[in-house]
């Protein structure tokens, strides 16, 4: 094998890692907001992602049967819709369930796990147990080939771009907007934030809903890579928690770095060994690093 071939394989494998990074990061971002900022252990996060994926499927089906002229363009609208569907669902779940559990953060684990099981069964009963795939527009198909022997899939590029936009948006919102200030003040000290004029209940609901909305966008991105079934989301929930814990629960930059590290390590080691051995290696490394740095990769430096 010539050196050029090795280089091409290395780049394609590296790009596969980047695609995995994109999905992990989108999942991790929503969770980092909900778990890292609010301390709520959201086991239903995967189902909000599935909800986003089904929203894309719904739009695809609608476009195919009723508006064939939109089959090329429905996808972008559907991503926005996926955000809002998951956002609304999150809003309702917070109102009905989570807000009663802020004083008992561990109980949120059990409660949201119940929500997760319930949502999975709803998907199974109302949409169907079989996996579905939306019809993707043509411009998402195929690959980009800068030179002979190197093929970069376009859907992978699209997911990367989407991830960049969403991550940038979240960082900007959290550190530059009034909502971000409310969230960070509420996280730092809930009763004091309330006593300085911030409506903390509304802030909590908004934050949870936005985290779920981002999971919906992750689901939308997911449809370009795999097919959607009732349990698709739950396959990613462990990885997503891994990303958030490894990165340092309160740090979004840590989430980005840890998603990148985990995805690249997984993807590159998969090339040299079997998939499950690669997973073992990744987990071992994370466990060892977390033993040395229990607060995660990034932790903010302040006196208390």
């Amino acid at each position: 094998m010539a050196f050029a071939d090795m280089l091409n394989i290395g780049m394609m494998q590296g790009f596969a890692g980047l695609s995995l990074f994109a999905v992990l990061l989108l999942m991790g971002l929503g969770l980092a907001i909900i778990f890292g900022q609010m301390g709520v252990i959201n086991m239903a996060h995967g189902e909000f992602m599935t909800l986003g994926a089904y929203t894309i499927f719904l739009f695809s089906t609608l476009a195919e049967s009723f508006f064939p002229q939109f089959t090329q363009s429905y996808f972008l609208v559907a991503i926005v819709a996926a955000f809002f569907v998951a956002f609304l669902a999150g809003w309702c779940v917070e109102w009905a369930l989570i807000r009663h559990l802020y004083k008992r953060p561990l109980d949120t684990l059990l409660a949201t796990w119940g929500v997760s099981l319930g949502m999975q069964q709803c998907f199974r009963s109302f949409i169907g147990p079989k996996e579905v795939s939306p019809t993707l527009p043509d411009w998402l198909m195929g690959s980009w080939s800068p030179h002979e022997g190197l093929d970069i899939p376009i859907n992978g590029l699209f997911v990367m771009a989407l991830t960049l936009v969403v991550t940038g948006g979240v960082l900007l919102a959290l550190y530059k907007s009034r909502w971000g200030l409310r969230v960070r003040a509420t996280v730092a000290n809930r009763p004091m934030a309330n006593a300085i004029g911030i409506n903390t209940k509304k802030t909590d609901r908004m934050t949870y809903a936005i985290g779920c909305g981002i999971a919906g966008v992750a689901g939308a991105a997911f449809t370009t890579i795999g097919s959607t079934g009732p349990t698709s989301g739950s396959l990613y929930i462990v990885d997503a928690f891994l990303v958030v814990t490894f990165g340092g629960a309160a740090s979004l930059l840590g989430t980005v770095a840890s998603a990148f590290g985990i995805a690249q390590m997984q993807s590159i080691s998969e090339f040299f060994m079997t998939g499950s051995m690669a997973k073992v290696l990744t987990l071992m490394t994370i466990v060892v690093i977390l033993m040395m740095r229990p607060q995660g990769l990034f932790a903010s430096k302040i006196r208390h």
Binding site: L181, R184, P191, N194, A195, I196, G197, N199, A250, H304
Partner: protein
Amino acid sequence: MLNVSDLVVCYGQSEALHGISFEANKNETVAIMGRNGMGKTTLFKSLMGVLPTRSGSIQVAGKEVSKDESYRRVAKGIAYVPQGRMIFPTLSVEENIQTGLENAAVKKVPDEIYALFPVLWEMRRRKGGNLSGGQQQQLAIARALVTDPKVLLLDEPTEGIQPSIIKDIAKALNEIRKMREITIVVSEQVLSFAMDVADRLFVIEGGRLVHESPRASTDVAHIKQFLSV
């Protein structure tokens, strides 16, 4: 401006405040003196809505607030500087002040705040948690002031702060009152600080106000007796 009548506050079954009544007028500073455990912080927390009240009424400029959540009380004109400062350690100094601008039309920190506390301008990019105790106290006062209050509550502002900064804080409080003509209610154990800022002094003991006197006719020795352990 602030009217409190028959305020009763309980922790579970045990009553901590047994019917407190007092009023503080516009452009007046009132000090509430008392030893540890006599109910000062309980009183302030219940005025702010951090603790629920059992019965009684709290009125700010004629509006009843005792049933409101804290953030609504802020909108009605109470601001709170808690014991231990409670600034947001992970937020920058500037962001800390901005949290108080929730009901303001312009979300920019007014210049007069930095004029009042120049050290906060120098430190505005630092994390609040990295400030010294005295600077944090000034930050907590600034954060409360930007809510544009009618009544400013300060719970033991001198606790754990070096003597030279205590003088600065007394000066700032007097300046604030002159500038804004608001009502200031301050709880204290340090009598000299209270004599510097207050127009009237109350003594709280065992959850009741047991003594009241205007500053001019305050018998310092008598109040010292209440404060000695």
